[in-house]
Amino acid sequence: METRNNLFSEEIAEIISEISKDFIESKPEDPITWFKDVLKRECMLSDEEAELKAKELIKGILLYRKNKNLEDPMEQHKDKFSEEDKIALKEQLEIIKNKIKEEVKSWKRE
């Protein structure tokens, strides 16, 4: 399983590297048009599909950026989360957070 995860990790690293290179080299004046073109090319989407996917993905980016500025992003949606949800969420997040921190710190030690 670990080998599988590592393989995937390398693959996404490659994808990000390639797309970053394209972004840097093309220096897009209109990043949204660049975004749609890359989606079309990389994910083999039609014009219409790329337009829809670009909107969905940008919606996610903007929601994240908006929520990050809030004191508690879950507070405005408290009707959607039970107390049990919140506790379970925080426990799970603690595990992931510690994992990431340890990994980042271990890189610095290497």
Binding site: N5, A13, I32, L57, Y64, R65, K68, L89, E103, K108
Partner: protein, 152 residues
Amino acid sequence: MEERVEEFEYINEDIELKGEDLINAVAYYKAKEAGLIEDTGIPDSSYGVLGAMATDVMTATRDYFEGKINEEELESSIDRSLFTAVSTIATTAITAVTKPIGEFIKSKIPPVLHHVVDGAITFVREKLVKEAVRLVEKGWNLAKSFVKKIFA
């Protein structure tokens, strides 16, 4: 420029889009399309959330390696990014999945049975919260090789 404002008018705020966010969002969406991330029906906007989260974690990591922030600030930044990503994905998924389904089913059955639908929705909602956490963890697992390559 005018087109962009109209296109994203559902966000009534001026929020800057970063190039890294767009790059990472394409990468995650492509990973999902390629089967590297299991498609569990979570809305595609989640991959945009993952992209923005990855940008923030990468920035915090870079700042930590360059000595601009200390360990405590790194932890705080990662904590905030993860929490924001999970709560955003979970909220979006719950709204997109459970509300329309619940309203549709309730319109088809007698009111006396509505509590059964509410119970089923609670079950689905709990699964979606767990799915959001799993997706963010997967997002990190997929991104870390790239982060390490740049900064380590």
